[in-house]
Every structure is written in C-alpha cells, then in structure tokens.
Symmetry: C2
Subunit: 223 residues, 2 copies
C-alpha cells in the first residue's frame, strides 16, 4: 500500500530538541492540504550517542559506531533519503554514505550553495567541533567568513548547552551576546540548537537557519 | 552500548504536525541537563494511513493494517513502550496491544485518570470519529461532559483541517468559535491537532492537552 513512496529518514537525537524542530520545519514547509499529502518519515533519535564535539576536538569516545547503527536502522526501514539535523555530525557524512549505501542530504553543502555570491561578512556560529573540523570554512573559502572570538564562542557554547537543558529563553541571552559581539549583517546558525534560542533573541540581524535548507532539500529529493 | 535502555516508540503521522508537537513536548518535559539524559526515541510517521475518522464513521478504507504495520516496525526496532499521539487511532488500541504484544501508553486512560473527581462541566472537543466511538464518554460517565452542537463541531472540524494544512493561526479562529459556543470552565482538547491551534486562540478558558499527560506517562514508563 505504500510501495514506491519515498521515506525520509531522520538521524536525530543530536540533540533531541533540534530533531523535533527539524521535523516540525519539514512538515510546515511541505506543500500539503491534508495528512495524506505529507511525507512518510522515520526518525531514529538516540541522544545517548557520545558527545560529537569532544570526539572531534580531543578524540574521546568515538560516536561513529552508534551513529552508524542508527543510520543502518533507517536504511533497513526503507529510507530513500536520510537527513541529519546536526552540523557537527556532518563530519561523519562521507563515512555514513559509504557504509550505508543510502542517499543523504548534506546540510553543509546546501548552506554553501545558498551563500554563493554573498557579499559582506558572514558570521559563522557553531560548536567548537564544527568550527575545528573546518566543515563550513572549507566550502565558504571565497566568502568573508567571520568566526567568534573566544569570549563570543563561550556565549555560543552556553547558548547551545541551555537549549539542551530545555532553557531556550536563557539560551537567547547568550546568543544575543554572541550576535552583538560579531555584529555581522548575516549570521549562519551552524548548530541545530541555535535556531531554538533565536526564537527568543532580540538582536537585529539576519539569521540563516541551515535546517530550513535541509528541509527544502529533503522535500525536493522526495519529488 | 545501549542494551537495556528504554526505547520510546511513537506511532505518528496522524497527523504529522501533532506528532512533531508531541515529540517536542516529550523532550521539554523530560528532566535532562544534556543530550545523554534524554530518552531514546523511534518515530514511525506514515501520514498516508487512510482517514481514521471516515473509517470509524462509515466503514470506508480500513486504516488498521497500515497502523499495525507501523506499530510492528517500532516493536521490531526494540520499542519498550509505544505512544500514539492521535485520539481517534486509540479506537484500535486493544487490537494493537494484542497484535504487537508490546506495552502502549493509553492517552485516553491517562486523561480519564487526571479528570477523576472534577466538578463542573467539561467540554470535549475531538474529531467526529473520536466522539462517535464514545472512547472518552465511556470513561468519563461520572462527569458532566458537554459535547459540541453541530455548528460548534463544524468549527472543530475546520480547526483540525486548518492545522493539517499548516495554518494553525487560521485554525485558532475556528477553535475560538467552538470554545465560545461551549463556554465550559474546562475543555479537553481530545484531538492532537487542536493544541497547535490553541497556541493562537484567545478565548479565556482552561484547556487540558492530553498529549501532556501522554508525555508524562511515557517518561514514567521509562523510569
């Protein structure tokens, strides 16, 4: 009865609130008049995956086996395309594509495409892991990318941690501090927790949420 | 690495926005300081399941085989408890429990427990399917349950349909009309789309969202 229909796999839990936010965005951005017009979705959300940032920065417990295990579950459920609403985890994307032989939508590549030709400074906010891997910087090398100073990064770290403990309002204060310090005309929220904080932020600056681009790419991939 | 940990199965897609809302509630209501404190969750969201209300009311295409198929996928993933963020689908709960041999949390039973001893009229808003099955009325027979008149039910129908086409603001107008017509001191939002409309509603009345009780029961079941 559902043979031949696309199935979106969401490899989530990193973190959980960001996964729920991405799923809500995917639904809100799908052109649909009734339930039956919406995409079939399977979500595997395992928040017990070891800390991705720590692994990238100092080689502590490797999260990859547990991330791959989740991706294989989605593949086995019949996922025709998989999305990962976590920027830091995109570090493992090449391995996941090879080890699952399943198509993924690449949130970093979608964001880089959207920014082609942008003039003016672009602030890049993310985890220390995402920034240390150079995931974004390597694809945005033609652009004027501005990274946070150490004090601003500490505010970003605090904002992310506050969202993860279900305090997006408290997170917004830290995000506002980081945005004020960077003072760019465009800011990329390259950590999926940050858009949850941005709902309550008050700094007047243009924000780009790569989860929007990821959702739109998933919808295109399912057409 | 995750052996012995609980796994929450969410049988969703009925509708999709309500599923995302329930997942967000489950996360927000879980006591957690970091990702790794959160529950492992698997979601199967198949919005192509045939219309549950039509099936209950006039015996059109039976959605049960497709609902059961989703529940079996969650069981096979290792779900230790399953939640269904759809009231109308609770009509099939006894069959699902028997056919999957997996524990479910019963949102209708949780709501009935929370209302024990309540005095004063309780308005019950839901789909025509939920109301026709008497799912709630049979468990609330000691209480003063008020059902919508036909014009008020039409407003409820419109509110639900608007949420399903991603228009919660438009839905709120219809929900406000229904709430004004019923004028009860407490209203049970016994359709999972209605809380999404209620965010934008302005009628001054106490609203009970059974999804909150479902989320809390899931968290207790995982302790």
């Amino acid at each position: 009865m559902t043979a031949g229909l696309p199935l979106v796999g969401i490899l989530g839990g990193m973190g959980p609130a960001a996964t729920a936010e991405f799923y809500a965005k995917l639904i809100a951005r799908t052109p649909a008049g009734r339930d039956q017009d919406h995409l079939r979705v399977a979500i595997w959300a395992d928040p017990t995956v070891p800390d991705r940032v720590a692994a990238v920065l100092d080689g502590s417990t490797d999260p990859y086996p547990q991330i791959l295990s989740g991706a294989l579950k989605l593949r086995d459920l019949g996922a025709t395309v998989i999305a990962i609403p976590c920027h830091t985890a995109h570090f493992f994307l090449p391995n996941l594509i090879e080890d699952t032989a399943t198509p993924f939508v690449d949130m970093v590549a979608e964001t880089a495409s959207a920014l082609v030709g942008h003039t003016g400074p672009i602030a890049l906010l993310g985890t220390r892991g995402t920034l240390a891997t150079g995931l974004y910087q390597s694809r945005l090398h033609d652009l004027d990318v501005v990274l946070p100073s150490e004090p601003a990064q500490q505010e970003v770290d605090r904002a992310i941690a506050a969202v993860k403990r279900a305090d997006p309002q408290g997170a917004a204060t830290h995000l506002d501090n980081a945005l004020s310090a960077l003072n760019a005309s465009l800011t990329v929220l390259a950590c999926t927790e940050l858009p949850l904080a941005a709902r309550y932020a008050t700094t007047d600056t243009e924000l780009l949420d790569p989860m929007d681009l990821l959702a739109d790419a998933v919808i295109r991939a399912c057409k």
